[in-house]
């Protein structure tokens, strides 16, 4: 212990200063970096990890927008925990805007490139992060293939240079095809990934080639999968490794529904499956195999409902066939009475 009392923050013992920084939010850390050199050096040495709930990165043609939730309050900073930074390409160099609830703080960087600027800041704020980021979202709205590939290349380099892979819980990407997902997902820590959500950029259903993705360790480690507005031609069995899945087929075979029912009966893993379809082939097979369904109507629409007990458990599987999708869900014994009531329905994902 020093022999004199602390005159100011930086003279506090390292343990105390680290404790303070660990309890500061993202913006406080950002601003504390600018306060004085000693504090900046301390922050760079100790790398505090302020809480982030979401990290959303959206790539447009001329700018990159980064939105983070540093807490639960959805209002823009400083009233809430939503922080918005934008890196914009300018005729000469780039500008960085920090958008708050009541003003925009903008700074120009004449000799800098907006993608490099973003990457530099990402490296400072997330490059060394060891804790799990609950929600990572990367939206490649940018239509220009050159810009997209430049961005992906730079971003990939940061992820690749990390000593430990980046830890995220929910991994979300908005893309046109599978290739960019492959480039980014493979650098995530497979042990932290719980959920993978891939959304089609155009919100118009199109085919997604999963051939390479399904071989990734990260893909196989995830427990939940959602493919929104992406159709697949993969066998349904390819998704049996997930606890929950949302998958879209152009033509769903009744035989697949029967097989999935059997999987629910035999395997404790599947919890909730939602299969979208345009057409369903050989539908009479369902009645032949499952028997007559309950015909029910809930706020989602008319449905055919079958309920089966899962052997050696107190659980049941409920199959709900609507006009454009079928939902399977496992119901725990204690919830059976409530969840098999004719008025009961589960919220759907899409």
């Amino acid at each position: 212990m020093a022999e004199t009392s602390p005159a100011h923050l930086i003279t506090l013992p390292d343990v105390a200063l680290k404790n303070i920084l660990d309890q500061c939010d993202f913006l406080a850390i950002t601003n504390l970096r600018k306060v004085c050199r000693d504090l900046r050096n301390f922050i760079e040495d100790t790398k505090p990890e302020p809480y982030h709930k979401d990290l959303n990165i959206i790539l447009y043609d001329d700018y990159i927008r980064v939105q983070t939730y540093t807490g639960e309050n959805p209002w823009l900073y400083p009233d809430g925990d939503w922080v918005w930074t934008q890196y914009t390409k300018e005729p000469i160099g780039c500008s960085v805007s920090f958008v708050t609830g009541d003003k925009v703080i903008q700074k120009g960087f004449p000799n800098e490139d907006y993608i490099s600027m973003f990457c530099g800041d990402f490296l400072v704020n997330f490059g060394h992060r060891k804790s799990v980021l609950p929600d990572f979202y990367l939206n490649l709205t940018c239509q220009n293939p050159e810009i997209q590939s430049k961005f992906l290349e730079s971003f990939q380099k940061i992820l690749e240079s990390r000593i430990h892979p980046m830890k995220v819980s929910t991994f979300q990407m908005v893309v046109e095809k599978a290739e960019p997902v492959l480039k980014i997902l493979k650098f995530m820590d497979k042990n932290s990934i719980e959920e993978i959500n891939l959304m089609s950029l155009h919100r118009a259903t199109r085919e997604l080639d999963l051939t390479e993705l399904k071989n990734l360790k990260q893909w196989n480690a995830a427990k939940k999968l959602r493919l929104e507005h992406f159709q697949t031609s993969e066998n349904l069995e390819e998704f049996y490794g997930f606890k929950s899945a949302l998958v879209d087929y152009k033509e769903l075979k009744a035989q697949d529904i029967v097989r999935l029912r059997n999987e629910f009966l035999q395997n404790p893993r599947p919890h909730r499956f939602q299969l979208m379809y345009e057409t369903i082939s050989n539908e009479p097979l369902l009645i032949d195999t499952f028997g007559q369904p309950f015909l029910r109507t809930d706020p989602i629409g008319n449905k055919k409902n079958w309920i089966f007990s899962i052997p050696d458990t107190d659980q049941i599987v409920s199959i709900n066939l609507y006009s454009k999708f079928v939902i399977f869900y496992r119901i725990k014994g204690s919830d059976v009475k409530e969840k098999t009531d004719p008025d009961y329905f589960e919220q759907v994902w899409v």
Partner: protein, 201 residues
């Protein structure tokens, strides 16, 4: 419970308690003496080990000199012991490194820490020195909360910190007093740093 009613027994200000419990005597660097219960002392890992090692009996506590805490003043030590008495018997949290670090400031602690920043920093310093985990957590939380929504200039004022320019000027003056060549070296170093690019954050 208010700060005034906290069961701290300062020999200078209050009577010796009637309860037949083990109370240790401590003395601050400005010779203020405090009586602190055995259970309250357990909140401080440093003091707890110290009294265990001393193995005092009740008579020793009365007859031997108070245990000197040489680098904490009476004003700070009083806050520390008030906190320990209020939280005596409570479990000591274990830092598992989880993010975010969740620390709530109870009402008693908030009132106790309604003090100027200089004294707050001394309290943090003492909590660290005496290894009082939860007091360190709440006092650091208070300092962290002070940073919320503030600009770098406001932070400098709140935390009594010099700006880089002031810091440099002070360092330069100190260096020049020792070695006139130091300034040239420093300037060259700064120039190199400036060429190393910039960042928004």
């Amino acid at each position: 419970m208010s700060v005034e009613n906290a069961p701290v027994v300062d020999v200078d200000e209050a009577a010796i308690p009637v309860e037949k419990k083990m109370y240790y005597r401590f003395e601050s660097n400005d010779k203020k003496e405090f009586r602190v219960s055995e259970l309250a002392i357990q909140q401080s890992e440093t003091l707890n080990r110290l009294v265990e090692a001393m193995g005092y009996t009740s008579e020793d506590v009365e007859n031997k000199p108070a245990i000197a805490i040489e680098n904490i003043d009476g004003k700070t030590l009083k806050l520390v012991f008030q906190w320990c008495e209020h939280h005596k018997g409570e479990a000591i949290p274990v830092d598992d490194g989880s993010v975010p670090k969740i620390v709530e400031i109870p009402e008693f602690d908030a009132k106790l820490m309604d003090i100027d920043n200089g004294l707050l920093f001394k309290l943090i310093w003492a909590a660290d020195y005496l290894n009082i985990v939860q007091l360190l957590n709440v006092s650091c939380k208070k300092v962290a909360n002070m940073a919320q929504g503030k600009t770098p200039a406001q932070l400098r004022r709140v935390y009594l910190l010099p700006s880089d320019e002031e810091d440099e000027a002070a360092k330069r003056a100190a260096q020049e007093a020792q070695d006139p060549r130091a300034r040239e070296v420093e300037e060259e170093f700064e120039e190199r740093k400036r060429q190393g690019g910039n960042s928004f954050f």
